[in-house]
Amino acid sequence: MEAVKERETGIADVNENQYLTFMLSGEEYGVDILTVQELRGWEDATPIPNSPSFVSGIINLRGVVVPIINLRDRFGLENRAFDATTVVIIVKLAGNDRERVLGIVVDAVSEVYSISGSDLKPPPDMDGAISIEFVKHLATIDNKMIILLDINRLINEGIFSKKETADLDVHEISVEE
């Protein structure tokens, strides 16, 4: 409840972490801002044959080939056409053995909040749209609930199987839920 917007105080508490929030089907989700490399508008991606449906394809990010993940599809939400407000959040995270850059398609980017550790609530047992294992915490800001995602886990387990280097059929990957 005590969480205050960063721009109002201007001072960051040591216990505070900053989160970038985005909208997905009316819900507000947050990811640790340190994992975010940049934000981009949606552009057409080259589809990868035989990839899971939530992999929209790959794009050219200044010479680097970056896969794009459709989070709506991954979370089992209803797909909607990408438009001008559709945003791709480019995240950079440590994978099992290396650093990986990928893009996440969301409906819109919302805010940057500083949330102190004491305001984070563990997620209750819920059977929501997304698997509970990818939700790290819940926080409340201005009476809105924000779902803070464990982005590392989401990518490394929810998108790439652990045996990612193994030569397995793409279809098998991440239908584990």
Partner: protein, 692 residues
Amino acid sequence: MSVDLDQFKGIFFEESFENLDAMETGLLALSEGETDLETVNTIFRGAHSIKGGGAAFGFDVVSSFTHVMEELLDKMRNGEMEADFASVNILLESVDVLRELLKAFQDGLEPDDQRALALKLKLEEIRDGASGVSEIATDSQIEVEAGDTRDEEIIGWTIHFLPYENLLQTGNDPSLMLRELACLGEMSLQVHTQRIPPLAEMDPEKCYLSWDIELKAPVERDAITEIFEWVEDDCDLDIQPVVQPVERRKMERRDEERRTGEGAGLERRKEDRRAVGKDAAPAPSATIRVSTERIDEIIDMVGELVITQSMLSQLGEDLDLAKLEKLREGLEQLERNSRELQEGVMSIRMQPISFAFNRFPRMVHDVSQKLSKQIRLETSGEDTEMDKTVMEKINDPLVHLVRNSIDHGLETPNERLEAGKEEEGIVRLNAYHQGSFVIIEVSDDGSGLDRERIFTKAVERGLVKESDELSDDQVFRLLLEAGFSTAEQVSDLSGRGVGLDVVRKNIEGLGGSIDIRSELGVGTTFAIRLPLTLAVLDGQLFKVGNDTFILPLSSIVESLQMDQKCISGVASDIELYRLRDEYIPIIDLSKTFSINENPKNMENALLVVVELGERHVGLLIDELLGQQQVVIKSLETNYQRVTGISGATILGDGTVSLILDVAGLIEMSHLDQNNGGKQQKMTNNNLVLQEQ
């Protein structure tokens, strides 16, 4: 001295591994019966550097171990000992142990020194055994010249050590040498400070001190000269033995003798040092050494590129139609510049194949002993350059092929004699360029492939039918199929039945192919054909549905418009296309890639015939686009491996396009037809073969 040594450790390890490689190469040369003084010296020098570094960094196991090696080598160097087979083998083993020790230290682990200690004992045994022999050998000379000189007993040494002022600048540190001296025994020393100038004139990088050292240790003179070995030219050094009182006359003579002897030794060592610098063996490491010439060339090219760029931007500022011609010229220049630059940068990655060949002498040496076969390894074309990444990936397949040649190819000495050949079998490694490919050949002069035996075996394994009529070539290719091994006994080396098929898979994965030539009784040659580089390829762009894909131009045999009459279906799903006298399986890309599930109208559709090794398959596509050079980007960096796709590239318009992997496509399309996988692949192959 409170210098942080850690920063030098990395260099020490890198150099030590290079030294070990050089030592190994040298030892192998010795084992071939060559007792060249220079070779022994190269080995000695390697051991010495490792010892020095080891001591400096506190790796006592390493330094004490190399010390014994060094003593042994010193004996060989002075001709006091023969470099016989046994001792060379022990030394080779020592090199292995050292490598293990250093690896452990490098990884920050406590090394397992049991093996080292055991081996050290062995080395000491040889050394002491040898010294016994050498004493007898040199005794006679001494007795003739000096009678009972041998009776005098050295109880210590006095050393006058006056470094020249520039000693420190050569990277040597007297304090380290003194410390090393102190390790030999009880030492007392006197420092002379009279050369130190007034503070104002003092240069901190110069050495003004000198020492008189008394060492109370009955060590050999060599043990002391060795410490000063690197600074001989940069100091006045006088080493006098302290002996039990003996007749003065004799002592003088002996001293003189020693000095002249040492002088000659000095000359020799200086020469050696030069020699070592010259032929220090190249060794693979994570870093690439690039000649400054190449870098200069690249810098020149960048310069030209910048000029072109400024010219173009000037043109862009006020462009009118009249300047169109100039613009076109500039763009042409830009294209030339960028291509040159690309080639220049690529050339940095090119390394001579000797990096890969270097490891084989040792392997052949070991394996030939294990199998008690006599084998000579001949290499040629070591200067052939290829991309470092390709080379790294080809190492294992090469090892496999060489082992295969030794194990299955070459006969035992007896069999060879019976066949009227020399006892010693030859394994030959050869490399050369052919177009944009590198060919690496592994050949042996062994018994050759027995066509009948392979065929019988293949029938047994159900790979082919007895009634099949196959050409020699087709029979030999069966060796490369999974689950095929003709070795009558499963041996330690190869012949577990996993093998050549894996080699083939690896090579095909690199976009290469493998060929077998063999003549019964004369020998066998495996020829590997690999692309020069994995980073850039000439690609053919084409469309399937709305997506653009790329095929390596080198894999395309031809493209054609299909004729309905030539298409025939076999079984449920396989469709074959008759091209002249060959039946080619068709892969419908829109189906394999799930782009468009509707069966395509084959009539007048485009078929691109690609080859993979000897096999041909046809890819059904929608539209052929242009050809262009593409830079290969890995999909695995940020995504994962995708079957049938070898990578991605960025096209001129900034979009990403996928590069097809023909081997993967074939695998996929067979998997799609039937879950039997490999079995299906075989039968399908047979179909093609039978139809011919």
